[in-house]
């Protein structure tokens, strides 16, 4: 069994996987050379397992009812936490108090299972790239994830056949990758604005020790919300061109995708003209950067407020921060950079790769856990206070936010009524004073107390927060000889037994799964090859003009093979598809070589084939 531990960034929009080799982290590419796996799941009614990633993202526009994205905003949450924007087309009406269920066609799947499907895909991608089986991973989560969200993420790993040996906070992971390269010392602020979540962490880097001083955030604030604002902005334009049907899920998906495209353009251009296909008709939109910035200003201000709080909690002044590191895809937005650099009164650091740095950090942490890296230590904190509901519905805090983890805390409680035989212990997480404003993590009943006058029993409650930021609670009655001991792990929508049962079922279906899996994989592979083949044809056609038609016949053959593959892809015979693909690749090879020669002779001499194909 291999002892490789993967580093996984399970993101709202994209996920990626990295590994450490000889102390250096690197991201893993898939067969097509892609690093980012879109966190999108496409699951048809017939398929035993879903399609994940780029292909699923393409399907979102064609078949939105069987597609779901931004699952991270659902994990470890219940019905009452549903605060995702209307743009997320996921049907979550079947959710329960403790668990969000997404309806995809005729099946309903929990957020934990959906996340586990993404993890399975990443696991497989790494296994293919490294040529070994992998059983362990370090997975990152937003620093501001609460206990339920962390536990649920761990369960998703178990379901995917991966032991999550450590949950690491995303900004902390980013700091690890940042600090490893630069051997930096000093105080840094990590501003991490991703697709769906925001974190701000203040760290002290000192001779290989990465010490988190304070962290704060919002687990429902990110790029998705900017897309939503853009959708609001272009809505009047669409309406004036006759668009009405927003309730259609395909349209919602198309609108969300179109908004995302506009947003990306506006990071490099002052205005974006984009056409969006809705209900089969093309609509024209135009948004200026100024309009976009005005719309998202309140959201950016929210991140500034959170940044101020984290700084205050760290006990530092703005001027003491040596470097402000920008992480997450949304930090490409110029206004974000401007606002944060204004706040700190200094240029922000945009040198790290905002998409990859978190996964790289996770891989470094994996290296630390494997015992290979003994230079670095990560000292992290608990993001949200933990406590117990006390008499009168207030919260008695046992562990305050930003306490170093692992953390232990003890407190003694007593009864309020004479002869009381049991005590209900209600575990809470959050900063608010009243229990009903905090998140309920667990309730347990300490039964069998001998009857005593009120105030006499001594019930000692112990909280232990481990290095993952996950809490275990123990309670013990001390006055009498009889001791009651209860150990409670907070709930997150699924019990350990449920997870185990699902794993067993997974094995039963494994063989069936394998076949449909291979069909799906072959289809995905085929899409990739078809794409490249079409590009080669295009480049070949372009370079043909002015030169003798030396490969017209070859082009015809490639065209025929492409068509054959397309026909077979509609069927279920993955072996036939594989054979056709081989023929296509054979046919395309000479053309690819010629295209390359032509290219090398031209002004593109210094570029490689990939660049030409990307044209």
């Amino acid at each position: 069994m291999s002892d490789i531990i993967l580093g996984i960034d399970l993101g709202t929009t994209n996920s990626l996987v990295a590994v450490c080799e000889n102390g250096r982290p690197r991201v893993i590419h898939d067969k097509n050379g892609e690093v980012l796996v879109p966190s999108v799941i496409y699951w048809t009614d017939e398929a035993l397992s879903p399609v994940i990633g780029r292909e699923a993202k393409r399907q979102r526009l064609r078949d939105a009812t069987h597609t779901v994205s931004s699952v991270k905003r659902f994990i470890g949450r219940g019905k009452s936490d549903l605060d995702v924007g209307t743009l997320n087309s996921a049907d979550t009406r079947k959710s329960t108090e403790k668990n969000i269920l997404v309806t995809l066609g005729n099946r309903s799947v929990s957020a934990i299972e959906l996340s586990s499907e993404i993890l399975k895909r990443l696991k497989k991608m790494a296994e293919e790239a490294l040529g070994i089986n992998i059983y362990k991973a370090v997975v990152t989560v937003p620093a501001y994830f609460n206990d339920s969200q962390r536990s649920a993420t761990k369960a998703a790993g178990t379901l995917a056949g991966l032991e999550i040996v450590r949950i690491v906070n995303e900004p902390t992971a980013a700091a690890l990758a940042y600090g490893l390269d630069r051997k930096k010392e000093g105080l840094i602020a990590v501003y991490d604005l991703g697709g769906g979540t925001f974190d701000m962490s203040i760290l002290k880097l000192h001779d290989g020790i990465f010490e988190v001083l304070a962290t704060n955030g919002d687990t429902a604030l990110g790029g998705d919300d900017f897309d939503q604002e853009l959708a609001h902005l272009i809505m009047p334009q669409l309406r004036s061109q006759g668009f009405t049907d927003l309730n259609n899920v395909d349209n919602k998906s198309a609108l969300s995708e179109g908004s995302e495209r506009i947003k990306m353009r506006l990071s490099i251009q002052d205005a974006a003209n984009e056409s969006i296909v809705l209900s089969g008709k093309s609509f024209e939109t135009r948004v200026t950067r100024a309009e976009f910035e005005k719309a998202i200003t309140p959201l950016i201000e929210k991140t500034v407020k959170i940044t101020r709080q984290a700084l205050e909690d760290s006990g530092l002044e703005k001027s003491e921060i040596n470097d402000v590191v920008m992480v997450g895809g949304s930090t490409r937005i110029p206004l974000v950079r401007r606002a944060i650099s204004d706040f700190f009164g200094k240029e922000v650091n945009t040198q790290v790769n905002p998409d990859e740095v978190v996964a790289l950090g996770a891989a470094i942490q994996a290296d630390i856990l494997s015992g290979r890296n003994t230079e670095l230590v990560l000292l992290d904190v608990v993001p949200l206070s933990l406590g117990i509901e006390t008499y009168g519905g207030t919260v008695g805090k046992l562990v305050h936010r930003n306490t170093k983890i692992p953390a232990v805390a003890q407190e003694t409680f007593t009864t309020h009524v004479d002869g009381q035989r049991n005590v209900l212990i209600h575990v809470l997480q959050g900063e608010r004073e009243l229990a009903l404003d905090c998140r309920s993590l667990a309730r347990f009943d300490l039964k069998g107390l001998p009857p005593m006058p009120a105030g006499l029993p001594k019930i000692q409650v112990t909280f232990l927060v481990d290095a993952n930021g996950i809490l275990t609670v123990k309670a013990k009655e001390e006055t009498t000889k009889m001791e009651a001991l209860v150990e409670v792990r907070p709930t997150y929508g699924m019990t350990d037994e449920q997870v185990e049962k699902m794993l067993e079922q997974g094995f039963e279906f494994a063989e069936q799964d394998l076949k449909s899996r291979q069909l799906i994989d072959t289809r995905v592979e085929a899409e990739g090859i078809l794409n490249s083949a079409e590009k080669i044809l295009k480049v070949a056609h372009e370079s043909e003009s002015g030169t003798p038609n030396e490969f017209t016949d070859d082009l015809k053959i490639v065209r025929t093979e492409i068509d054959t593959v397309r026909v077979l892809m509609a069927g279920n015979d993955y072996i036939a598809i594989k054979n056709a693909l081989e023929k296509l690749e054979m046919a395309a090879k000479p053309i690819a070589a010629k295209v390359m020669n032509t290219a090398l002779n031209s002004s593109l001499a210094r570029k490689n084939v990939d660049d030409i194909l990307k044209k």
Partner: protein, 205 residues
């Protein structure tokens, strides 16, 4: 786990056999960092020692090993020790507990010389003829006085601890009279703190 190799530290990884050597019972927080129980400490030194301990004893160093759970629990205690000794308030409270001294819970009110001023302020706040900015000004002035009193209480507390350390820092009943003095000042300061917070909230309104 324990090994028989000699070492002076409370927690350590034995350099000879690699065992995680744990204390047998509850630990004394000052001892964790190899210092004597005192109110006045060199926190930089504590922090340095904490980092040195972290390098060896952080649970990440015990991943997949049999003593991982006990490493987690002990490191939680080390974190708690650091947090307790970080601020004077925590150190004072911890020293009290080491000496089995229970600080009196007697209710502390306003310092007498502030009392009449406080009642004047209350009257002004309820006076409808005064403008909001006048009221804010009065509150701000009173806040300043509270801040001065807080500093006074702190230095009186420090003085008590200084005298305690001068007589050899006993952790038994010999400490009681000095600890009582310190505790009174701490209570006074806490009272002023909550009053300052109330005023701050009022000012924000």
């Amino acid at each position: 786990m324990n090994c028989s190799h000699p070492n002076t530290k409370l927690f350590h990884l034995c350099t000879q056999c690699g065992a995680l050597v744990e204390p047998a019972g509850p630990v004394q927080y000052f001892e964790v960092f190899g210092i004597k129980p005192r109110f006045f400490v060199d926190f930089d030194k504590i922090q340095k020692e904490f980092y040195a301990i972290s390098r060896v004893l952080h649970p990440d160093r015990f991943h997949g090993k049999s003593n991982f759970d006990s490493a987690t629990q002990w490191f939680a205690v080390i974190n708690k020790a650091l947090l307790t000794l970080k601020f004077p308030e925590g150190r004072a409270e911890y020293l009290f507990s080491l000496a089995h001294f229970e600080p009196p819970k007697a209710k502390i009110g306003l310092p007498p010389d502030l009392a009449s001023e406080y009642f004047d302020l209350q009257e002004s706040l309820e006076d409808p003829s005064l403008s909001i900015s006048d009221k804010n000004k009065q509150m701000a002035e009173f806040s300043k006085k509270i801040e001065i009193k807080k500093l006074e209480a702190n230095s009186a507390r420090d003085q008590a601890f200084k005298e305690w350390e001068e007589v050899g820092a006993p952790l038994d009943k010999l400490a009681v009279p000095l600890f009582e003095r310190a505790a009174r000042e701490i209570n006074q300061r806490n009272y002023l703190d909550s009053m300052a917070n109330d005023l701050k909230k009022n000012l924000e309104k």
